[in-house]
């Protein structure tokens, strides 16, 4: 019969000789192989101390952006929630009152903005849908938590530090410090 590949080997069904049947030589050969592995370099990355760098297009946890003056960019238009295939985003809009111009960029803002990280599939469609450059996916991923409520991230968890008042925190979050 013609072999299907050139690597096919016919199986040797000869009965074992006495020396083969006490297995010692073959066990010895196997042990040499494992012994060689003692001196091999370990590919392990010791996680909390060493971290593998993510690629620049990595899609991790979301952040809500501010502009240069520290005002929230989000106008609660709801396009991200519509774009979200996992329906992970909920928000409530509110109207800016006079005197809040330094907090919110436009007349309408998100009073409540929640992302359920257990539902989120980190596809990045919210980032693409946002017309105001307000939502971005960062390079960190969700840490473990004991409760489900711990995975629902509110505005305090998502907003980046204010570049005016918390410049040091922002630099740290960006990894510049």
């Amino acid at each position: 019969m013609q072999a299907l590949t050139n690597r096919a080997k016919s199986v040797d069904r000869k009965p074992m000789t006495f020396l083969e049947s006490i297995y010692l030589w073959n066990i010895f050969k196997g042990m040499l192989i494992t012994f060689r592995h003692i001196f091999k370099k370990q590919p392990t990355i010791h996680y909390p101390e060493q971290k593998r760098p993510f690629s620049p297009v990595f899609r991790g946890l979301h952040v809500l952006n501010r502009d240069e003056e520290g005002r929230e960019r989000c106008t609660a238009c709801g396009l991200c929630a519509v774009a979200c295939p996992a329906e992970a985003i909920t928000m409530e809009a509110a109207e800016r009152v006079p005197g809040e111009e330094n907090l919110y960029r436009e007349e309408k803002y998100a009073a409540r903005y929640e992302i359920n990280m257990l539902r989120c599939i980190f596809c990045g469609l919210c980032e693409e849908a946002c017309p105001k450059d307000a939502i971005y996916l960062s390079e960190t991923f969700a840490p473990a938590n004991f409760t489900r409520t711990g995975f629902i991230y509110g505005k305090t968890d998502l907003l980046i530090p204010n570049p005016k008042t918390e410049a040091a925190d922002l630099a740290k979050a960006k990894g510049e410090l």
Binding site: F18, L24, I33, T34, H37, Q42
Partner: protein
Amino acid sequence: MTLLAIDWILVLEKLILIAVIIFASLGIALYTTFAERKVAGILQDRPGPNRAGPFGLLQPFADGLKLIMKEEIIPNTSNKWLFILGPGLAMTAALMTCAVVPWGDKVELFGRTISLQIADINVGILYVFAVVSLGVYGIMIGGWASNNKFSLLAALRGASQAISYELAMGLSLIALLMTTGTLQLGEIVKQQQAPGHLWNIVYQPLGFLIFLVCAFAECNRAPFDLPEAENELNFGYHQEYSSMKLGFYLFSEYINMFISSAIMATLFFGGYDVPFLDESKLAPNMAAIIGIVALLVKVVIFIFFFMWVRWTIPRFRYDQLMNLGWKKMIPLALANMLITGAVVLYLHK
């Protein structure tokens, strides 16, 4: 009245020695579990446990604490009395063997000469054999009392394996005993220590090989770990066990490994003998300490060998195990015995 005159200091001395040796065995077994995981890791290109304490050195205590904190479950269909007896017996049998191993030569303390062997009985090797065969009762009783078909099957496998390999082990030892002429372990070490006499491995290489293979089988270590075959028998005889009773079973395996390494070192590798060193020229206490260290080094090498084999080769199939035991090991041991007998007879003429 002299019949009742007991040397109380001797009793005290032996009690202390027993306590020290048992705690040392337990401590070494404790760290053998850690070493096993470390060796497994290194042979598989990974670091092994390294989180608990520096280099993971506290790992065995973490493991032990975890086992103690687990819920103690006794299945209600099991035979409770035997269920508890099983792990206890396994542990006791494992620890009892260390009574006849000569851990070192004599030390002089407080004006007394103390032998570092608990009991140098004249049937030393027979005693080891008797206790080792007791060890299989731990497996059998545990498997039987669990009232679980996997455990029972594992217990049967364990029993038949122990019986098959004890035969070859005994036969390989008979050849050794022909050359030494004594069953006393202390005496066997002294003979190997004597100038002009090499270690027994030189006179009995085949006997050692057979003994080594059988020691693997007696300790239920891979490739002979059929009684606890994880993938087909679901951990076998200790499947129903939890908490410290499981710990006892796992622990007794490591103690067995330690003791059988010590026995192998004693019988074939000169025990506490250091090669090319004349112990009689040293101070007796110094010589004893060097002897203990030498024995421990040999034991550690053997334990590493045990692990190295375990993480290299897969488990035998049951028919392969029986074939190897009855059709290969026993004929080899018999041949070895015949040749040794003939040579001994020829040399004595």
